[in-house]
C-alpha cells in the first residue's frame, strides 16, 4: 500500500476527518505500518505504552486479566484507535489487545501523537469525544451490570 492510499484511509477516520490532507500525509509518512499475525498481541496489559495504533484492516479483541483468567471486554475493528489511554496518562497498558486474524495497523509513536494533539485542537477535541463516548458506554454497561447483580442477589 502506498502512502497516498494510507492518507485516503486516514481521512475516512472521524478522528482525523478535520485535519488537512498534507498533515495526514506527514502522519502517515512518519508512522510505521505494522502487520500482526493471528495470535500476536499488539500489546499486553501492564506493558509500558510507547505508541498508539490505528487499525487499518482486521479486527481485534480487548482483553482484561482477572483472577479467573482474561475476559474479553470489547471488540474493535477498522478505523479504531487503540492504546491512546496509556500514552495520554503515562500509565502501563490497562488491557491486552489481540488481533482476531491478520491485522494491519499504523503505529503512531507516543511523542508524535502528543505533538499532533497539541498542534491540532480539532484532533484533541476528537480524541476527547472518543474517550467521552467510551466513558459513557462504560457507564451504561456498569449500571446494567449493577442492575443485573441486584436482580441476581434479590
Amino acid at each position: 500500500m502506498k502512502l497516498e492510499d494510507e492518507v485516503e484511509l486516514l481521512r475516512r477516520i472521524p478522528l482525523f476527518a478535520k485535519i488537512e490532507p498534507s498533515r495526514l500525509k506527514l502522519l502517515a509518512f512518519t508512522s510505521d505500518r505494522m502487520t500482526f499475525e493471528p495470535g500476536q498481541e499488539m500489546f499486553h496489559q501492564g506493558d509500558i505504552g510507547d505508541a498508539a495504533y490505528l487499525i487499518l484492516s482486521g479486527e481485534a479483541d480487548i482483553l482484561v486479566d482477572t483472577s479467573s483468567g482474561p475476559i474479553t471486554v470489547a471488540s474493535i475493528g477498522r478505523n479504531a484507535l487503540v492504546g491512546e489511554i496509556s500514552i495520554l496518562c503515562d500509565a502501563p497498558r490497562n488491557a491486552t489487545v489481540r488481533p482476531k486474524g491478520k491485522l494491519e495497523a499504523l503505529k503512531i509513536k507516543k511523542e508524535h501523537f502528543l505533538r499532533l494533539i497539541t498542534e491540532f485542537p480539532e484532533m484533541a477535541i476528537e480524541v476527547m469525544r472518543v474517550l467521552a463516548n467510551r466513558v459513557s458506554a462504560t457507564n451504561d454497561e456498569l449500571s446494567l451490570a449493577k442492575r443485573q447483580l441486584k436482580e441476581l442477589a434479590g
Binding site: 502506498k2 502512502l3 497516498e4 509518512f29 510505521d32 505494522m34 502487520t35 500482526f36 499475525e37
Partner: protein
C-alpha cells in the same frame, strides 16, 4: 622527597656526577693543547721561526725533566726523557697539522662522551623523578583525589618536570667548569696588574650582587607562570569532563570567557618575564662592555704615565676576552637553576599530601596470600572527611568475615563511610577497625586487594574490552615470564638493568599478569567458563550476548569461528525457509532485488569499508557514477531524488526543526531542509537537465537510503529493480583494483569481515512493518546458535566489546554489574558493595541479591558480603543488619529473630 633539587640530584647521581667531572677535568689538557697548537704552527713552520738557516731542523717532542738542586751534581740540570725527533720545515708542518687534527678528534670524542653521558644521567634522573611521582600518586590517600584535578597531575608528571632532565646533567659540572674558567682569567688579570684586576673583580661583584636582586621578582613570576599554566590544564580537563553540562546549559561562552581570562593572565606574566629577562641581559652585556672601556681609559692612562707596560695591558685585555663568556654562561646557568628549582619544589610540594600509604603496604607479594577469616570488629570507630566533619562517630560492631551483613540508613548516614573504611578508602580518625585482630590500616594491599573486593556507586572501567576489565581484579604480580627469543631477551635484560638504575619497578609488563588460578581456572580458556558463571550471577549475560551479536571478529585470527558463522547462516536460512519466519527476512541474493534493503545497499551488495563507498559519498564517487551511467540508472535515480526531495520538503517545510517527526526522516536532517527546498524550486522550473552538478549530486544522494516498504512513496518498479541488479553486477566486475579494499561484498559462503555477527548470521534484512519481527528473528538466531552450540562463541565475542573511555559505552548499572562480576571472579573472602545498584527497581535488586548470595555459598565456599543498601526493605535478606542514622550506629540486629531479643550491641 628532598625539598631541594640539588640534594635530590646529588643523592641519586653522586658517582655519575663525580665521574663526569673527572672526565671534564681530563679533557682540559687536550683542549688547551688544541688551542695552543695553532700558535706553534703559525710561528714555526709557516712564519719560519727556527728555520732561518737553510737546512735547519727542529727537535719536536723533546721532553726534559728538571732536576731539583741537591741532585743536580749527579744528574745534571735536567734529565732527558725523550730526546725528540729532528725535522725539517715541511715535515714539521705535516707533523704539527696532523697532531692538531688528532687533538680535534680527541676533543670531539671527549665532548661527545661527556654530552651523551650527561644526557643519559639527566634522562635517568628524570625517569626516576617521574616514576617516584607516579609511585607517590599510587599511595595518595583516597580523599585527596577530591582536591586534585587529574589533568593538573598529568601536566606535572609530564610537562613540568621535563626541563629538569636537561639541567640535571649540568647541575654540578657547569658551575665547576665555568667558575674555574672565570677564576683562571681573573687571577691572570690580577697577576698582570692588581688595579685593573681589582676593577674587573669589582664589576663582577656588582653583577653578582645586582642580578639576584633583579631576579627576585622573576622568581615570583616564574612560580605564578607555572601555577597558572597548571591551572589552565586543570580547567581544560574540567571542560572536557563537564562537556555535557556546558552543552545543556549554554555555558560555552562562559567557558570561553574564563579561558580568555586565564590566557590573558599567562600572557601578561610571560610578557613581564621576558621584559625582565631581557633587561637583565642588557645590564649584563652593558657591564661586560664597560670593563674594557675602563681598561682602555685607565690602562691607557697608566701606560702613558709609564706605570704599566704595554705588553701587560695587551695581556690584560686579551685575558679579559675570556672572562665575560664563562660569567655570562654562569649567569645563564644560575637562571636555569632557579627555574628548575622552582618547578621542582612546586611539583614536589603537590606530591606530598598527608596520610600517604606507607610503601611497604604496596610491595608486590608473590604467590597466594592467606585468606581473610575471623571477626571484623569495629571499636568506637570514627571517620572524618577531608574538611574534618564526622562521617561516622563511635561505631562499634562485629561480625564474621563470612557473614552476610546489610547496612541500612538514609544516604550519608554513615554506612557508606564504614563500607569505604572497610575497603581501606578511608583511614579511621579514631577507634579501630580490625579483621581477625589485625588493624585494617596495617594490612598490606596484597591482602585487602586480593582477599577483599569493593563495588561502589561509581565503577571505573578501563577503555578496553569487557574481558580485560573483568581480569583487572586478577592482576597483582606477573604469573610467568614472557617468552622471548634470544635477541628480545637480551634487549629486555638491558631494559631491566636501566630501569633498576633509575629506581623503577622491574616486574615484566609483558608477562601474563592475570592470575587465572585465583579465579578458579587453570588457564585462559577455562576462565571463560568462570566468566559465564559470574556474568550470569550479576545478570549481565544477555547484554554481553547482545554485544557479541553487534561485534565483529578478525577471521584470520579465528578462522574456525568464521566458518562456523557461515554454517549458522545456512542453518538459519533453512530454518527460516521452512517456517512463517520467511516473511520476516529478506535474504541477500545476488540475482534478486532486496526489497527490505536500501537502494544504495542493493547497488553495492556489500558493506563499505572506510569512506569511499559510504552512502553519503556515493553520489560523488566517480567509479560509482560511471556504473550508474552504464546501467542507464543515473537519470531515473535523479528523478527519484527529485521526487523524494519534493515530498519531504512538502511534508516538513513548515515544521520547526526540533519537531519529533524529523527523527523519522532518514534521508536528510532538519538542517538540510532549506537547501533541498531551494534545489526543488530551482529544478522544478529549470528542469533536471539544466541543474548544476552540485544540485544533481545532492538529489542523487537521496534515493540511496530509500526502502520502498518503509518509505512507501511508490518509486520503485520492476524495470528499475532489474537495472539496479545489472548495475550491481557491473559494479563488482569492473571494480578498480585500488578500491577492492573499500568494500566487502556479500557472499553467501563467506564470512563478511565488515559486518557484525548478527548481520553475518542473518545475511539479509529484517522486513519492515511486521510486529515483533526483530524479536522473532533474534529468537530464531539464538535457537540456531544453541543447536550448533555456538552461544558461548558469540558470548566470547561479546566479552571483547570495548567499553569506551571510563566505560562510557555502558550505562551506570552495567558498569556496576561489571564491577560486581569482577569482584566475584577473583573469589575474595569478603565483598563490600556500597550503594551500588540504586538504579535497579525493587524486584531486580532482590533477584540480584539472591543470586549473589547463592553464588557466595556455592561449592562449599563461604564468602562474606557487606552490603550498604540503597533500600532498607532488603535488610531481611541478611544475617546481620547494621542500622545507621546521622553518622551514628543505631543498632546491630539479626533480622530473622525479633529485634528486641537480639540487640547484640547497644546503640551508642
Amino acid at each position: 622527597m628532598e625539598k631541594s633539587l640539588f640534594r635530590y640530584v646529588w643523592k641519586h647521581s653522586r658517582p655519575e656526577q663525580v665521574w663526569v667531572l673527572v672526565v671534564v677535568l681530563l679533557s682540559f689538557p687536550f683542549m688547551f693543547m688544541a688551542l695552543d697548537l695553532p700558535k706553534t704552527i703559525v710561528n714555526g713552520p709557516i712564519q719560519g721561526q727556527g728555520f732561518e738557516q737553510p737546512g735547519a731542523v727542529v727537535t719536536w717532542l723533546a721532553f726534559y725533566l728538571p732536576v731539583p738542586g741537591p741532585l743536580q751534581s749527579t744528574f745534571g740540570e735536567e734529565v732527558t726523557l725523550f730526546s725528540g725527533i729532528e725535522m725539517e720545515r715541511l715535515s714539521y708542518l705535516w707533523a704539527l697539522s696532523l697532531a692538531f687534527l688528532a687533538f680535534v678528534c680527541v676533543n670531539g670524542l671527549f665532548k661527545f662522551y661527556i654530552n651523551s653521558y650527561k644526557g643519559r644521567m639527566g634522562e635517568r634522573l628524570l625517569r626516576r623523578l617521574r616514576y617516584e611521582l607516579v609511585d607517590r600518586l599510587l599511595r595518595f590517600p583516597i580523599h585527596h583525589f577530591r582536591k586534585v584535578r587529574s589533568s593538573e597531575i598529568a601536566t606535572m608528571v609530564k610537562d613540568e618536570v621535563e626541563p629538569l632532565g636537561g639541567f640535571i646533567g649540568d647541575a654540578f659540572v657547569s658551575p665547576v667548569f665555568l667558575g674555574g674558567q672565570a677564576a683562571v682569567a681573573l687571577v691572570f688579570i690580577l697577576i698582570q696588574d692588581y688595579r685593573l684586576g681589582g676593577i674587573a673583580a669589582l664589576i663582577i661583584g656588582i653583577q653578582s650582587l645586582l642580578i639576584p636582586r633583579l631576579r627576585r621578582r622573576l622568581l615570583i613570576l616564574g612560580k605564578e607562570r607555572q601555577l597558572t599554566a597548571r591551572d589552565l590544564a586543570g580547567r581544560v580537563g574540567e571542560i572536557v569532563d563537564g562537556m555535557l553540562e556546558v552543552r545543556v546549559n549554554d555555558t560555552s561562552n562562559y567557558e570561553r570567557a574564563d579561558i580568555t581570562r586565564r590566557l590573558g593572565k599567562i600572557f601578561w606574566i610571560r610578557f613581564e618575564i621576558f621584559q625582565r629577562k631581557f633587561f637583565i641581559k642588557f645590564l649584563n652585556n652593558f657591564l661586560a662592555q664597560v670593563t674594557p672601556f675602563v681598561f682602555y681609559l685607565l690602562g691607557g692612562y697608566l701606560t702613558i704615565r709609564g706605570t704599566l707596560d704595554i705588553g701587560q695591558l695587551v695581556a690584560v685585555i686579551a685575558a679579559y676576552k675570556d672572562l665575560p663568556s664563562p660569567i655570562k654562561e654562569l649567569i645563564d646557568w644560575d637562571q636555569r637553576r632557579l627555574d628548575v628549582q622552582i618547578k621542582y619544589s612546586q611539583v614536589v610540594e603537590q606530591f606530598a599530601p598527608e596520610g600517604m600509604l606507607p610503601p611497604e603496604l604496596q610491595r608486590p607479594i608473590d604467590g597466594p596470600v592467606a585468606p581473610l577469616a575471623g571477626e571484623v570488629r569495629a571499636k568506637r570507630l570514627s571517620v572524618v572527611d577531608d574538611l574534618g566533619s564526622k562521617l561516622v562517630e563511635n561505631a562499634s560492631f562485629s561480625f564474621d568475615v563470612s557473614d552476610f551483613v546489610g547496612v541500612t540508613g538514609p544516604v550519608n548516614s554513615g554506612g557508606e563511610s564504614v563500607g569505604e573504611t572497610l575497603a581501606r578508602l578511608h583511614v579511621p580518625a579514631s577507634g579501630q577497625l580490625t579483621i581477625d585482630g589485625k588493624d585494617i590500616s596495617e594490612l598490606p594491599e596484597a591482602i585487602t586487594g586480593r582477599r577483599m573486593a569493593y563495588v561502589g556507586p561509581e565503577v571505573y572501567l578501563q577503555p578496553h574490552s569487557v574481558a580485560q576489565n573483568l581480569f583487572y581484579g586478577l592482576r597483582h604480580v606477573p604469573m610467568d615470564t614472557a617468552t622471548r627469543d634470544p635477541g628480545e631477551a637480551a634487549e629486555r635484560q638491558k631494559r631491566v638493568a636501566e630501569a633498576a638504575l633509575a629506581g623503577n619497578l622491574t616486574l615484566d609488563p609483558d608477562a601474563e599478569w592475570t592470575d587465572f588460578a585465583s579465579a578458579g581456572a587453570a588457564n585462559e580458556d577455562e576462565v571463560y567458563d568462570r566468566i559465564i558463571e559470574v556474568v550470569n550471577v550479576v545478570g549481565l549475560a544477555e547484554d554481553i550476548y547482545a554485544f557479541g551479536l553487534r561485534g565483529t571478529i578478525e577471521p584470520t585470527q579465528k578462522p574456525e569461528l568464521a566458518n562456523e558463522i557461515v554454517r549458522v547462516r545456512q542453518a538459519l536460512r533453512s530454518r527460516i525457509g521452512s517456517s512463517q519466519l520467511s516473511q520476516l527476512v529478506a535474504p541477500f541474493d545476488a540475482a534478486t532485488y532486496n526489497q527490505q534493503a536500501t537502494i544504495g545497499e542493493n547497488l553495492l551488495f556489500g558493506t563499505p569499508v572506510g569512506s569511499t563507498f559510504a552512502t553519503e559519498n556515493l553520489a560523488t564517487n566517480t567509479y560509482f557514477l560511471e556504473v550508474l551511467d552504464q546501467a542507464s540508472l543515473h537519470d531515473p535515480l535523479l528523478e527519484m531524488g527529485q521526487s523524494i526531495a519534493g515530498t519531504v520538503v512538502e511534508l516538513f517545510a513548515d515544521l520547526p526543526p526540533d519537531h519529533p517527526f524529523f527523527e523519522q526522516v532518514s534521508f536528510m536532517s532538519a538542517d538540510d531542509l532549506p537547501e533541498y527546498d531551494a534545489i526543488v524550486k530551482r529544478t522544478s522550473t529549470a528542469g533536471l537537465t539544466n541543474a548544476s552538478a552540485q544540485d544533481r549530486a545532492k538529489l542523487l544522494s537521496l534515493p540511496f537510503s530509500y526502502v520502498e516498504p518503509r518509505h512507501r512513496l511508490g518509486l520503485l518498479d520492476e524495470d528499475l529493480e532489474k537495472k539496479i541488479i545489472e548495475a550491481r553486477r557491473r559494479f563488482r566486475e569492473k571494480l578498480p583494483a585500488a578500491d577492492t579494499g573499500a568494500i566487502e561484498f556479500y557472499q553467501a559462503d563467506r564470512y563478511n569481515t565488515a559486518s557484525s555477527l548478527k548481520d553475518n548470521f542473518l545475511f539479509g534484512r529484517v522486513a519492515y512493518g511486521t510486529a515483533e519481527a526483530e524479536e522473532r528473528v533474534s529468537a530464531a538466531i539464538q535457537e540456531v546458535l544453541e543447536e550448533l552450540d555456538l552461544v558461548s562463541s558469540v558470548f566470547e565475542v561479546g566479552l571483547q566489546f570495548n567499553v569506551g573511555v571510563g566505560g562510557k559505552r555502558l550505562n551506570q548499572s552495567q558498569r556496576q554489574q561489571i564491577g560486581l562480576a569482577r569482584a566475584l571472579l577473583k573469589r575474595p573472602d569478603l565483598i563490600v558493595v556500597n550503594r551500588a545498584f540504586a538504579a535497579l527497581e525493587d524486584g531486580s535488586q532482590i533477584r540480584l541479591l539472591r543470586s549473589i548470595k547463592t553464588a557466595l555459598r556455592s561449592d562449599g565456599r563461604r564468602i562474606g558480603l557487606f552490603w550498604v543498601l540503597s533500600r532498607d526493605e532488603l535488610a531481611g535478606e541478611f544475617e546481620h543488619v547494621l542500622e545507621f542514622d546521622q553518622g551514628r550506629m543505631v543498632r546491630q540486629y539479626k533480622p530473622q529473630i525479633t529485634v528486641a531479643e537480639d540487640e547484640t550491641e547497644p546503640a551508642q
